[in-house]
């Protein structure tokens, strides 16, 4: 970071980074705020340090240098100007900059307030499409050995992780906060992050890509639970095989006992399942969860079966065992001892397994960044702070993050979620607080300003007010000191 380019002059140093050649006192920055005197050394002020200063001053951040290099060409046509012009002050200059916020779009003056919010309580919700067992619910999720979040519920064939939040960002050790911040930022910027789950798997997560669980890339997410799969494919199996078991960590389905099988008059086969029967043909906990068949830890599917009931079972009974994604499948026939013996799978059953596979969508990791507007949103507003919240709730003010649509979670405040793959690349940054810096825009019609605040009579063309007298709206504000 340090440059050997400064000539010492007493306690001051002379910066030669640019022709202004500022003399800089220890602990101070030059005229540009980009170079500073750190213990007699000229240092390039790291943007993060300046950001921290901005933050410690309670400042607002504006995007800096996120764009591409100037290649002498226009990269956009003017008609692609969709929204308002952004903040005009330039980082790291926090001069009280008037900035251009509005631009004529389709004859409507849109106002966009562009900023990068600092989200010190934020988090990401990660949805990992996998049947594989990642770890017990509430288990700690770690990055680089530090706790960054936990395993939460498993829903519809996806495992949810909840990462970040105030306790990991600021509640733990310094390192925990920094590692959490890094993990959140990388996940939000669609970069891969390796997460390890206490008592569970190691999973490589990257938004928009398949999860890699213990080194194996997940390909497909299951079409439904084992029971649902029975329901969906019962007709296609009817007449081609006597019994089907769809092995699933959650609900394993058994064709002959399942309601779908009953409707097709499929006879009992004498099959005996391990696990806890929920309703006919639906079994919980046939095996421990794991990364084997259907999210269980088994590699031999027969291990979920008990011996066939000799009163009902007959030799020659055919049976298909398949996982919920069709990734694993095996075909058996009962021998004279009523023991299942694996045989080559008949082509029409193979087809049905492929059909299951085909109906499983590509497994992905998806990352939702979640940030919120806390107290200062309300605290600093001069007239009626709840109006912005209401206007967001009433859909008069549109909230976007880097132009991407967000979901605003109903209830108090403005808590929003955004799919990070929709946000422009590299949009997320951080400050050493630690906290994430994310783009956020409020867009509203000028006409809605009226509904919002009623100050519209102040917005006029200069010409119409040339003769007007001095006007002194002396507003009492909560921030006022007196």
């Amino acid at each position: 970071m340090s440059d050997e380019t400064a000539a010492a002059a007493g306690d001051k140093i002379r910066c030669d980074a640019c022709p202004v050649m500022c003399y800089i006192k220890p602990g101070a920055a030059g005229a540009c705020d980009r170079y500073a005197n750190h213990d007699g050394q000229l240092v390039r002020v790291d943007p993060h340090i300046v950001l921290e200063r901005t933050v410690s001053h309670g400042g607002r951040l504006v995007p800096f240098q996120a764009g591409g290099d100037w290649d002498g060409k226009l990269v956009r046509e003017p008609e692609m100007f969709v929204t308002a012009i952004g903040a005009g002050t330039t980082y790291p200059d926090y001069k009280p900059a008037p900035f251009i916020v509005s631009s004529e779009v389709d004859g409507v003056d849109m106002v966009t307030v562009v900023t990068e919010g600092i989200f010190s309580y934020c988090g990401v919700k990660v949805k990992i499409d996998t049947d594989r067992y990642l770890g017990p619910e509430t288990a700690i999720v770690r990055a680089q050995g530090e706790a960054v979040g936990h395993v939460t519920t498993s829903e519809y064939g996806s495992q949810m992780l909840s990462l970040g939040g105030v306790h990991h960002l600021t509640g733990g050790s310094k390192k925990e906060g920094r590692v959490t911040c890094d993990a959140l930022m990388d996940l939000s910027n669609c970069k891969p992050v390796e997460l390890t789950i206490d008592g569970g798997a190691t999973v490589m997560v990257q938004a928009g890509y398949p999860p890699i669980v213990n080194g194996v890339a997940e390909e497909r997410m299951r079409v439904g639970c084992g029971s649902a799969t029975i329901g969906m494919f019962a007709k296609q199996w009817h007449g081609k095989v006597d019994e089907v078991v769809v092995v699933d960590d959650h609900i394993t389905g058994v064709l002959s006992e399942h309601q779908a099988g009953k409707l097709l008059d499929i006879p009992d086969t004498g099959i005996k399942m391990k696990g806890r029967r929920s309703t006919p043909g639906r079994y919980f906990q046939v095996a421990e969860p794991g990364t084997g068949w259907g999210g269980t830890k088994i590699s031999d599917p027969l291990s979920v079966l008990g011996p066939f009931d000799p009163k009902t079972a007959r030799a020659g009974t055919t049976m298909l065992m398949v996982s919920t994604t069709g990734e694993h499948a095996a075909y058996y026939e009962l021998d004279d001892g009523l023991r299942p013996v694996e045989k080559p799978m008949p082509p029409d059953l193979k087809l049905s397994v492929e059909r299951i596979q085909e109906n499983c969508e590509p497994a992905l990791c998806t990352v939702l960044f979640m940030g919120g507007a806390g107290g200062s949103l309300r605290a600093g507003v001069t007239d009626n702070p709840v109006r912005l919240t209401r206007s967001v709730k009433d859909a008069l003010t549109r909230v976007t993050s880097g132009g991407a649509p967000v979901y605003v979670w109903p209830g108090g405040g403005i808590t929003f979620m955004v799919d990070v793959t929709q946000v422009p690349a590299g949009a997320f940054g951080y400050v050493p607080t630690p906290a994430l810096v994310a783009p956020i825009e409020f867009t509203l019609k000028l006409s809605d300003y009226a509904a919002l605040g009623g100050h519209m009579d102040y917005v006029r063309p200069l010409a119409s007010l040339k003769d007007s007298a001095e006007i002194r709206p002396m507003m009492l504000t909560p921030g006022r000191r007196s």
Partner: protein, 296 residues
């Protein structure tokens, strides 16, 4: 080690960022695609070497301006001098008070010569030079204070208006202020005039000798500041409502004089949440809040 000027698109891909030393510009042009290209090329071409030109006369630029004679040679330096000269008889002011606006103007000029544009602006850290073709207008948002998520205020500048320059000065900025204003935003015919006038009006928003105001010699903060030993405002403590009003009155009196003299088109003065407007009431308080949760 000299760092070369930076010329890059901002993330939105439509605004150009030019940075060299302390000069930091955001440039945008609107017009046909070829015209925009020509304009941006002209901006980038003029930017090259601009800081060196200024630095060649830096010593002189940091001296109190002579109200009558200009010893400066460079076109930007001479513009800076011209902008501050009207104040130099009665006040201490150096051409540096108009550097940001003068540079903004200097970049906008070649852009407009290069191509017909619908709208264009060069924003130099809040000091802005504007161009508006007939019938066009800009909506400008103002921040109450740079270190707070203050209420957005907007004003509209129409092509029919005389103002083509906007500048803001105050004690929170990168440059020092002799006064206590949080922000004084000035509209003037040119950005350099606006810059100089904003400095003067912000200096006039003051309560001389008030114990709650912390001041310190500029040279203690920046050894080569053009303000030398003059006391610059570091902090403003508790002020009563009447004191805030008195300080704003003092600034407003200065602004009214400049308005009458034709040096400015209008001004908005802000101190501790109170606002005074001179010559224009088009600046509207609005309700748009920025997102932040630090105080949550």
């Amino acid at each position: 080690m000299k760092r070369p000027p930076q010329i890059a698109w901002l993330a939105d891909g439509k605004r150009l960022h030019l940075q060299d030393g302390p000069i930091d510009l955001i440039v945008e042009a609107e017009g046909s695609a070829p015209d925009m290209r020509r304009a941006y090329e002209a901006a980038a071409a003029r930017f090259a070497g601009l800081l060196d030109e200024l630095c060649a006369e830096l010593q002189e630029l940091r001296r109190a301006a002579d109200p009558q004679h200009c010893r400066l040679r460079g076109v930007v330096a001479r513009r800076m001098h011209a902008a501050v000269a009207p104040f130099a008889t009665d006040h201490f002011i150096t051409p540096m008070a108009a550097v940001a606006g003068s540079v903004a103007e200097e970049i906008l000029g070649p852009m407009l010569e290069a191509a017909p544009l619908e709208r264009a602006y060069v924003n130099n850290g809040g000091d802005i030079a504007l161009h508006l073709a007939k019938g066009k207008q800009f909506s400008i948002g103002l921040m109450d204070r740079p270190d707070r998520h203050g209420v957005m205020r907007t004003l509209v500048i129409d092509a029919k208006d005389a103002a083509r320059g906007i500048a803001t000065s105050g004690r929170h900025g990168r440059s020092f202020s002799l006064g206590i204003a949080d922000a004084v935003t000035v509209l003037a015919r040119t950005a350099s005039q606006a810059d100089a006038a904003a400095t003067m009006i912000a200096n006039a928003v003051d309560l001389p000798g008030h114990p709650a105001i912390v001041r310190c010699p500029a040279s203690e903060l920046q050894p080569d500041s053009d303000l030398g030993e003059r006391l610059v405002t570091r902090d403003v403590g508790e002020l009563s409502y009447a004191e805030v009003e008195r300080a704003l009155d003092s600034g407003a009196a200065c602004a009214r004089k400049l308005l009458a003299a034709g040096l400015i088109e209008g001004a908005t003065l802000r101190l501790l949440g109170e606002t005074v407007e001179v010559g224009t009431s088009r600046i509207a308080a609005s309700n748009s809040r920025l997102f932040d949760e630090r105080a949550a």
